[in-house]
Subunit: 126 residues, 2 copies
DNA sequence: TAAAGTGTATTAGATAAATAGTACACTAAC
DNA sequence: GTTAGTGTACTATTTATCTAATACACTTTA
């Protein structure tokens, strides 16, 4: 599983986002036990402290529940997961529109460009 | 003019992007003299060294030309500016699609959501 | 009981980024 | 010539992040 961490943002923040994505997109399923902090840190080639910090931040969203001395599980509250997914999508949408408008594109142009991009097959490997 | 710098990324990188945007969207027009490093630093509430670093990086794109001991001007090469604008738009589009797909949305759903968001009037102040 | 595996906490060191303060060489305007 | 305003360079300090290396309390399992 690729983590693809780069150095232009704090690593713990990148890990936090990736964990959120994996939960809302179903890679980690509701009620499922997560790998241990040490294992995930090794998988991501990162210090355990860094992974721990990412989880500490992730706790607050309620998407994972820590069962001390046993591990962590993904919440079984599918509505909470769906709400997080929706919230992340809205954030993506708004920042996308804001950035495109700042570049000088009208909403019509944005829609047109989105349709073009969606109809292009080879835009997944950029 | 609002700079809206936050701490989750290097400040010089954020400034660099904002300067690029201001050039491609016409806030700073072709051939126009830019404010001095010291003035811009004061305007952005940032150390002059940080603003200087942003400009040093910006030089490489060719969007601004430094005339030593006199100041900096925006390039008059409108094709270069247009190319930069297009490149930034493509980058925005691709990362947007990548992120939305990772969240589990199909291209059809993305297009639908984009249309909804564009038709919503109050999404500029989020 | 003993061992292995959890989350968690702590201390120390390394690195990058931002700030602060100062200085230099040059140009334009007075 | 003098002064003000450019870009640029330099050192030192502070802060945040990441790493490294332990250590502890607890649960599960053998």
């Amino acid at each position: 599983m690729a983590w693809e961490l780069n150095s232009d943002r704090p690593i713990y923040a990148q890990i936090l986002e990736k964990l959120q994505v994996r939960i809302v997109c179903g890679t980690y399923k509701p009620g499922e036990w997560l790998p241990s902090v040490r294992d995930l840190a090794a998988e991501a080639s990162v210090n355990p402290n860094t992974m721990q910090r990412a989880f500490t931040e992730l706790e607050r969203s309620g998407l994972v529940i820590t069962q001390r001395n046993m591990g962590r599980v993904v919440t079984q509250d599918v509505q909470l997961i769906e709400a997080a997914k929706h919230r992340m999508a809205v954030t993506q949408m708004n920042s996308f529109f804001e950035n495109m408008r700042q570049l000088g594109y009208s909403d019509g142009e944005i829609i047109s460009l989105v349709n073009q991009t969606a109809n292009t097959a080879d835009n997944t490997n950029t």
